[in-house]
Symmetry: C2
Subunit: 402 residues, 2 copies
C-alpha cells in the first residue's frame, strides 16, 4: 500500500501568492466595475528589451532549420551564456569562476527549492524572518521543519529581521547548519553591506554551515554594495549563490536563471558541485535554448544598456512609492537597492487587515507581511514592478485614503 | 556541521548518457579524421515544424510589447495548451479530463524525477529492467533503493523485460507500492496492449499501488495500441501519466511536456492532485511562455499534419535500421511503435564490448543495454532520431562490418 509523504499535510494554508490571487479574484468577481492595481505578486510588467527579442527571434529561426536546429543542450547550460555570466556578473567584481561552477536553470525558484536534495534531512535550518516562502515550504516538504505551531515551524531557527537591526539578522545563538540569506532582500527591500555578509561567511566557516545566498535582485543594487556573496573572502568555501534573469531582465515568463556552486565547496570530502551536477543530470534537462539565447543577449553592449533602462524605470517606481508613502506619514523601508517597499501598517492593523482595507479603499493589491513569517506581522510589501502610470495612480489613491 | 545526503555517494558511475558522451569525445579526440554517427542519446535531429516556428515568433513578438507581454504564467500552464491536450490527447481516445488534472512542465524528465517527493521514503519501488535511468537514479537520491550490490540496488524490485515476455513484465511476486512503466518503451521499443496494461491497473487497484506511467513516446504508436493508460478502466484511480513534446515534436531543446494527475487519485483520503499542485507552486514556475505557445501550435490542423510528417520520417528510419540489421542476421526488437531499436549483441559480446567494437569498426554510437539495467546486458539500443542520410549510412556500415 502506497505511503504518502506526510509532510504535505503539515501545510495549513496555500502557497502565499495563491491565497493572495484567490482573494483578489473574489474581490474582482464581486466588484467587476473596480479598477484593481496589483503591486502584489512581484511580477514584472515591462516588455523584454529589443536586444533580447531580436536574439530570441534568431534562436527561433535556428530551430526551424536542420543545420542550426538545437536539441538537448550543452551539459549544464550553453557555454556562451555561462561565459557571459562569469565575465559580467563575477569577473567585473573581482570574482573568478570557472565554467563548470555555473549551472543554468529555469529560474531561481526551482533551484532554491531543489537544492535541499543535497543535504540530509537531519540538519538545522535557519531562515530570515520575514522570508521568501519557498525556502521554508521546500524544507517542510523535505521534513526538516517539524510542525507548525502558532504560526511557527517547531524545528526552524527564525532570525528576526526588523527595523532595529536594519533587516539584517543577528547570528543565531543555536548552531544552524543551513542558512538562507537573500540580499537585496525579498520582502523587506533591505541590502547587506560587505561587512555584514562577512560576519555570516565567518560564522559558516567556523561552524561548518552552508549559506544559501539568493541574489535574484542584485540588478537593483546601485550603491556600491556587494553584487555577489563571493566578494567576501572565504565565501567560495561556504556559499551557494542563486541568481535569476526574472527581475534583471523581465524573464518571469521566459524562465532562465543560474546557480553558482564553487568547487571549493567541500563537506566531508564531498564536492557539492559534483553532487549538484549528478542531481541535475538526473532530474533536469536545461532551460529552453531560446530562453538561453535571450539571456545571453542581456550581456551584449546593447542588451546591457537597454536592461539598465528597464531597471531604472522600476527604480523610479520604487522611489515614487517610497516618497509618496513617506509624505503620507507611513513608516517605509527598502526601495533603494531593491524593487520592494516594506511598510509598517498604520494604526496597529495586522497585515491581512491592512490587505483587506487597502483593497477595499483603494483597489491596490499588496502582499501581507505576515505571509512571509511571524516577524512580518504588522508590515506590508509593495513592489515597484508595475507600470509607471499604475504605480503613480496607486500611490495617489493610497495617499488620499490614509 | 552540515550533513550531506549520503545517498549520492551510493552512485558508482556517472549518469549513463554522460558516460557515453565522455567515451565518444575521447574517441573523437583520438581519431579527429573519423566521421562519427550518433544513434545513441535519443536526441532528435529534425527542425521544429513551420506551425511551431511561426507560433513561437508570434510569442516572442508579444513579449516585446507592453500590451501583450507575459510574466508569470497561468497557474499550472496556459489554458489554451491544457485544453488542446485534453481534446487531442485524451478526449479523442475516449478519456475525459478536466483542466486542473493537467500540469504543464518543462519536459518529462523533471516530473518523472520529482514526482517521488509526494511519497514516503518507505515504499517499495518496482522498475522494468532494463529501464530509463531517471526512475532509479531519482529514487537513489531519495533513499528508496538501498545499496548497489553487483549492479543491482538491494531494495528495488527488478521486473525483467526480455524477449520471452515480449518486454512486458510479469506482475511481481513481492508487493510493489510504486511501479514505473514506460510504453512505448525506452529502451526496448516494445509496446503494451490494452489487456497487458489492464493487468497492471488491476494489480495496482488491488494492492493500493501507484503506477507512474511514462508515455513520452506515444506519438510513435500506429497500431491501434493504447495511447494513454487512462484508456484502461480504473486507471484514473491508480496512475499518473507523463507525456512530453520532446519526441512528439522535436522539443528536446524547447522544454515542454505535461503530467496528468487525475482527481480520482486518492490515497489515505489525500488527493495527489492537490499535493502536486502544492509541490509545483512551491518549487516550479511553469515552462517558458514561448515554449507553451509553440506546444499549442502542435495541436492546430497545420501543426498536427506537419508533426505527423516528422514522426513518419523517424519511423522510416526505424524501419531502415530494423530491416537492415535483420538482413545482416541480427536479432532485433522494437522499432514498430517506438523510435528505439533493441538488438541482441552478436557473438556473446557484453553491451559495452559491443559499444566499443561498433564505435571502433563503424564509428556508430549507440547505447549499451546494460546501462539500462542488469537484464539489458547483451542488448544494445539504437535510435531512429538521426537524419535519414546518417541512419542509412550507419546501417550500411554495420551491415558491412558484421
Amino acid at each position: 500500500m502506497l505511503k504518502l509523504n506526510s509532510n504535505f499535510s503539515k501545510f495549513q494554508q496555500n502557497y502565499l501568492f495563491v491565497t493572495v490571487r484567490n482573494k483578489v479574484n473574489e474581490y474582482k468577481a464581486m466588484h467587476p466595475e473596480k479598477d484593481v492595481i496589483s503591486l502584489g505578486i512581484g511580477d514584472v510588467t515591462q516588455p523584454l528589451v529589443p536586444a533580447v527579442i531580436d536574439a530570441m527571434h534568431r534562436a527561433v529561426d535556428e530551430m526551424g532549420k536542420t543545420d542550426t536546429f538545437k536539441g538537448y543542450g550543452q551539459d549544464f547550460g550553453y557555454h556562451t551564456l555561462r561565459n557571459a555570466i562569469i565575465e559580467n556578473d563575477y569577473a567585473a567584481y573581482g570574482v573568478k569562476l570557472s565554467l563548470d561552477e555555473v549551472f543554468i536553470n529555469d529560474g531561481a525558484k526551482s533551484d532554491t527549492g531543489n537544492i535541499g536534495e543535497l543535504f540530509d534531512i537531519d540538519n538545522t535550518v535557519a531562515v530570515c524572518d520575514p522570508v521568501y516562502p519557498v525556502y521554508i515550504d521546500s524544507n517542510v516538504i523535505a521534513g526538516r521543519t517539524g510542525d507548525l505551531i502558532d504560526g511557527r515551524w517547531s524545528k526552524l531557527i527564525y532570525m528576526p529581521c526588523v527595523a532595529e537591526n536594519g533587516f539584517v539578522p543577528e547570528l543565531p545563538e543555536e548552531k544552524a547548519d543551513i542558512i538562507y540569506l537573500c540580499y537585496p532582500n525579498n520582502p523587506t527591500g533591505a541590502h547587506a553591506t560587505l561587512d555584514q555578509l562577512k560576519r555570516w561567511v565567518d560564522y559558516a566557516l567556523e561552524n561548518g554551515s552552508i549559506l544559501l545566498y539568493d541574489a535574484a535582485y542584485s540588478a537593483f543594487i546601485s550603491d556600491g554594495l556587494p553584487k555577489t556573496i563571493y566578494q567576501v573572502d572565504g565565501a567560495k568555501a561556504c556559499a551557494i549563490e542563486f541568481k535569476s534573469f526574472s527581475k534583471t531582465a523581465g524573464f518571469t515568463g521566459v524562465r532562465c536563471g543560474y546557480t553558482v556552486i564553487p568547487k571549493d565547496l567541500q563537506f566531508d570530502g564531498q564536492s557539492l558541485n559534483a553532487m549538484w551536477a549528478r542531481r541535475q543530470s538526473t532530474k533536469f534537462n536545461e532551460a529552453s535554448y531560446i530562453s538561453q539565447v535571450g539571456a545571453s543577449a542581456i550581456f551584449t553592449e546593447e542588451g546591457k544598456k537597454q536592461t539598465l533602462d528597464t531597471i531604472a524605470y522600476y527604480k523610479k517606481n520604487a522611489h515614487t512609492i517610497k516618497s509618496g508613502l513617506q509624505k503620507a506619514g507611513f513608516e517605509v523601508y527598502g526601495g533603494e537597492n531593491a524593487p520592494y517597499i516594506w511598510l509598517k501598517t498604520p494604526n496597529g492593523l495586522t497585515s491581512w487587515e491592512f490587505f483587506d482595507e487597502l483593497l477595499e479603499k483603494t483597489q491596490v493589491v499588496g502582499t501581507p507581511g505576515s505571509g512571509f513569517g511571524p516577524s512580518g506581522e504588522g508590515y506590508f510589501r509593495l513592489t515597484a514592478f508595475g507600470s509607471a502610470e499604475n504605480t503613480e495612480e496607486a500611490v495617489r489613491r493610497i495617499v488620499c485614503a490614509f
